[in-house]
């Protein structure tokens, strides 16, 4: 596989802009509106009038060409395989983009009279019914705009529940050492002290360690299952008992639900709260960083604490409505009802797959991951830490520390070199409990041919690492640019977070 990414020496819009170019035109104001404008412009006090604005204009073609060129210097799932572990970069169906371009969606205002938005409410309500079936939870809130916001909400719900039950002293949240960084960050935001529970040699939560740190102050545990090593937490039953025995709650981080769709449901494992990442598991495009959606589902006894409003359906009137009358609600997480277009896209995907299709999604993703692992673990310099005999689920983590010791080539170097072969790199240096971690998630979207090609590329890179390590250490060579000076990028003296800072720094030089 040979690959050359486009390379334009594309200036910034500030350098391209020209005085007086026109990129967009507005309808001419007619006489009466002009008069109104003159009147109001006269009323604005001088000190509140905009004095200067430091950017010029571009023509429509200038803009279209500029951003088209930039897009050519970007890599998405449509460009090639994107085995970024924990991010579930599966195919994003194009029908979803078509559907959200319907006027009934894009031109629908969230504060319109409720009888004029029945269609939007019905979609959210129907999506909720499906997510309830998939997870076993009782109700969902769609406000969270991302997984991390869902986690924050989950923690706030735990907090509100304990307060309500008179258990205010509960102020500790347990997080495994293999957890996503958002877990401890979210728990802290919600006011919890974070206690880390170590993984045992099997890569799962160490039960005796857990028993040691659990006391009455523990409010709950945040778990990803399968965990970030791709291993199913086999002692989940025991964990549930331990946490529930002190009135704690179990939070399910849905980042890795893909492996279990239609097979195992978080509620059936004993979880009390779950967030789902619609932009991972349910195939909505990630947009270069967002928007995502992180709906939160809870079991019966926690429904009262979900944010307001919830969307309810009155069957007798065949009418959907917003329920604000929820005195125990934790309040509001976000404006309106969540990232609605993302919800629509997830709904489209779920309909396309059907219940049975989701089970195939899970199984295919797990098969692909284990198949790739089966081949990758035999490569020189690659080791499989934690429970080497256990099957992984939808993703796996190998260590390249042996390779690093033998060749000086690091996980980062291998990742960069893979880019040269036309593949996005896996997640690296995560989870933190694996040295030179290399976390691969092929997803169910990829064909065997593509997975084999990825393996071949990785195999070549490993070979190069032994024969010509410099080539790998100086990679990438085929991307728009070569390796970046990350230290300089964030150094206080050289950091440039905006064009105006660049201009100031340039003038000073």
């Amino acid at each position: 596989m040979s690959y050359r990414q486009a390379k334009w020496s594309e200036p910034t819009v500030f350098e391209l802009a020209r005085h007086g170019a026109v990129g967009v035109d507005f309808p001419e104001l007619d006489e009466e509106l002009k008069q109104a404008l003159d009147e109001v412009l006269n009323e604005i006090p001088e000190q509140l009038k905009r004095r200067e604005l430091n950017f010029l204009e571009l023509s429509e073609l200038d803009v279209v060409r500029h951003y088209t060129r930039l897009s050519q210097m970007n890599f998405g799932v449509f460009s090639g395989m994107y085995p970024l572990g924990s991010c579930t970069m599966k195919y994003n169906p194009t029908i979803s983009e078509e559907v959200v371009s319907y006027e009934e969606i894009y031109n629908c205002h969230p504060l319109q009279p409720v009888e004029t938005v029945q269609g939007c409410l019905e979609i959210i309500w129907r999506l909720e019914q499906i997510l309830k079936e998939i997870t076993g939870m009782s109700r969902f809130s769609f406000q969270p705009a991302a997984g991390a916001q869902g986690e924050f909400l989950g923690c706030l719900i735990i907090r509100a529940y304990h307060k309500d039950k008179g258990l205010d002293y509960k102020n500790v949240m347990i997080v495994p050492d293999s957890a996503h960084g958002t877990n401890p960050a979210s728990a802290t935001m919600a006011g919890y002290e974070v206690k880390v529970v170590k993984s045992d040699e099997d890569g799962c939560v160490n039960i005796s360690e857990l028993e040691k740190i659990v006391d009455k102050r523990v409010a709950g545990i945040m778990l990803t299952n399968p965990n970030t090593l791709g291993l199913f937490e086999k002692n989940i039953e025991k964990i549930v008992d331990i946490i529930h025995s002190v009135d704690g709650l179990l939070y399910y981080d849905g980042a890795n639900l893909n492996a279990l769709l239609g097979k195992v449901r978080p509620a059936d494992m004993g979880f009390d709260i779950v967030h789902l990442n619609l932009h991972k598991t349910f195939s909505t495009p990630h947009g270069g960083g967002g928007p995502g959606s992180g709906p939160v589902g809870v079991i019966d006894k926690l429904v009262d604490y979900l944010p307001s409003p919830l969307i309810n359906y009155d069957e007798s009137r065949n009418f959907y409505y917003l329920d604000y009358d929820r005195p125990k609600s934790i309040g509001r997480m976000k404006m309106f009802y969540g990232n609605f277009t993302v919800l629509v896209k997830a709904y489209v995907y779920l309909l396309r797959m059907g219940g049975e299709g989701l089970r195939k999604v899970a199984e295919s993703s797990v098969l692909s991951s284990n198949y790739l692992l089966h081949k990758v673990k035999k490569l020189q310099g690659v080791t499989l830490p934690y429970a080497p005999e256990s099957y992984r689920k939808h993703e796996f983590v190998v260590s390249l520390s042996k390779l690093y010791k033998e060749t000086g080539v690091s996980a980062r170097d291998v990742a960069k070199r893979l880019l040269d072969y036309g593949f996005h790199a896996p997640t690296i240096y995560f989870p933190l409990i694996v040295d030179e971690a290399f976390m691969i998630e092929p997803t169910e979207s990829e064909s065997k041919r593509e997975i084999d090609a990825f393996y071949d590329a990785l195999s070549s890179v490993i070979n190069e690492s032994y024969k010509d390590p410099e080539k790998v250490k100086t990679a990438p060579h085929n991307t728009s640019i070569g390796r970046i000076d990350e230290v300089r990028a964030s150094h206080p003296k050289t950091m440039i977070p905006s064009w105006r800072v660049y201009v100031t720094r340039r003038e000073r030089l």
Partner: protein, 488 residues
């Protein structure tokens, strides 16, 4: 279906599936294939064989059997693309949108004209289907676009640093309140009386787990300007920040905003301004008004209202170490490659959750990057002139509608004697706002939002919104319809 699966199995067991390839494909097509699934049955079989296992279920053997769902998920059979299209269209036919009714509502999401070029760029799959740019060398396009968003927004706001997005104005505000408390190590935050009630609720949710105390200050009921005496009374040594909305939720410009910032700074408190960026081609920038931190809603910059989401949370601050290092969210910086070429990458990641975990400035990870890209394309198209003209177009229509409504005897418009941008309040004497809105709706007008009960000294009124999407005929139709409602 089961028979087919059995036949497949027999063929595989006898290892004759390759010989009967055509029949096999036929079966496989029925049993397994889906446009979104990568593996063919044949590939699955050969992968299993290579791994030396018989069926996929074996890969799940470490899961206690009691946890397995003993039935298929029950919600629907897979639908074809066309079935989904028809299904969604049928549901959506229950909506009434701008092609059937005239909408004059804002309140946190606003209708604006969206240039076609914006939509074209934003749908490009190289942007749309990429993840957070963790590998900068292969993601320069998104990184440069986000850097341009930060930079264009920085010019518009007149402040040096803008992050590459928060979820919306409300969550940006919640994060800003937490940020100022960390920066100043103080706990009191003063917020304006006529704040958006929804934003206030979100800020309350965000600050609830902290020791932050939020205190309201009074705005003058006549023109909405800040009651400076009240502010001075409430501000003290423990005040972390003073927040103001500009324009306010009720559409007026708080005319003494500059003095508010001065009072904040006199007490070494930070000054946070919340903005609608479409106003900033006409009105003075938050930077020049003394803002230390700016938050706002970027949805008007090229994004449809989309039933309220996605939106675009704007958040920026002055280039001061203690502020920038406490700023939540992703930041993109311009730098160079080891060979000295210009390049872009995520910077100051040491503030973020994936590095700092429980000590991070925020938990935010996934943000609204594609919306930030949208705003960058939109602002590039408008340029300096376009932003000013956009502001004037909105200003002209707001003024025109207010003037015409105020000439109706029974109408009091606006309720604040100030300059209004995009939104304003009015009431009809002796008529409840909900009743007025209901009657207008009979004429296919959604005339605004009832703010009955939202603000203690405003009383029952309507918050109406006009932007450049409204033609003069639309505005005249509103006025004529209201006249009929009033007279009836």
């Amino acid at each position: 279906m089961e028979t087919l699966e059995r036949v497949t199995k027999i063929m595989i067991n006898l290892n004759i599936h390759k010989e009967f390839h055509f029949i096999y494909l036929l079966i496989k097509g029925v049993v397994m294939s889906h446009p979104y699934l990568g593996l063919t049955q044949e590939e699955i079989n050969s992968m299993l064989m290579e791994m030396g296992i018989e069926k996929i279920e074996e890969l799940y053997r470490d899961i206690p059997s009691k946890f397995f769902l003993k039935r298929p998920l029950q919600y629907s059979q897979p639908m074809s693309e066309e079935e989904v299209r028809q299904h969604i269209k049928k549901i959506l036919s229950k909506n009434k949108v701008a092609n059937q009714i005239k909408l004059f509502i804002g309140g946190g999401a606003w209708f604006h004209l969206i240039p076609s070029a914006v939509k074209e760029i934003v749908r490009r799959s190289e942007f749309l289907t990429s993840y957070t740019p963790y590998q900068p060398e292969v993601s320069q396009g998104m990184l440069q676009a986000l850097f341009e968003y930060q930079s264009l927004m920085a010019e518009l706001l007149d402040i040096e640093v803008v992050n590459s997005s928060m979820y919306d104005w409300a969550t940006a505000l919640g994060e800003a309140f937490r940020m100022v408390s960390r920066v100043t190590k103080r706990s009191k935050i003063l917020y304006p009386q006529y704040i958006s009630p929804e934003r206030l609720k979100v800020a309350e949710t965000y600050t609830e787990p902290t020791n932050i105390m939020m205190v309201e200050y009074i705005q003058n009921r006549i023109d909405g300007s800040v009651d400076l005496e009240d502010l001075k009374k409430k501000i003290d040594q423990d005040t972390a920040a003073v927040y103001i909305e500009y324009p306010s939720y009720l559409g007026f410009i708080p005319l003494n905003i500059r003095e508010v910032g001065e009072i904040a700074h006199d007490h070494k408190a930070l000054f946070i301004i919340g903005v609608d960026p479409t106003a900033l081609g006409v009105f003075e920038s938050p930077g020049k008004l003394g803002a230390d931190i700016v938050v706002g809603e970027g949805q008007p910059l090229g994004m449809p209202v989309n039933f309220g989401g996605p939106l675009l949370g704007i958040m920026g601050c002055r280039m001061e170490r203690e502020l920038v290092h406490q700023l939540p969210g992703r930041l993109i910086g311009m730098t160079v490659t080891h060979k000295g070429e210009r390049a872009y990458t995520m910077i100051l990641q040491a503030r973020e959750q994936h590095i700092k975990r429980e000590k991070a400035t925020s938990n935010i990870c996934t943000n609204q990057a594609l919306c930030a890209l949208t705003a960058a394309v939109y602002l590039s198209l408008l340029g300096k002139n376009g932003i000013r003209i956009l502001g004037e177009q909105i200003l002209a229509r707001t003024k025109y509608l207010i003037s015409r409504l105020s000439k109706i005897v029974e109408v009091e418009a606006p309720l604040f004697k100030s300059i209004h941008f995009k939104e304003f309040t009015y009431r009809v004497v002796n008529k409840q706002s909900r009743e007025v809105l209901r009657r207008l709706f009979e004429k296919n007008i959604v005339g605004g939002i009832s703010i009955d009960g939202m603000f203690r000294d405003v009383g029952d009124a309507i918050l109406t919104c006009v932007t450049e999407i409204h033609s003069k005929e639309d505005l005249d139709y509103y006025v004529d319809s209201l006249k009929e409602v009033v007279e009836r």
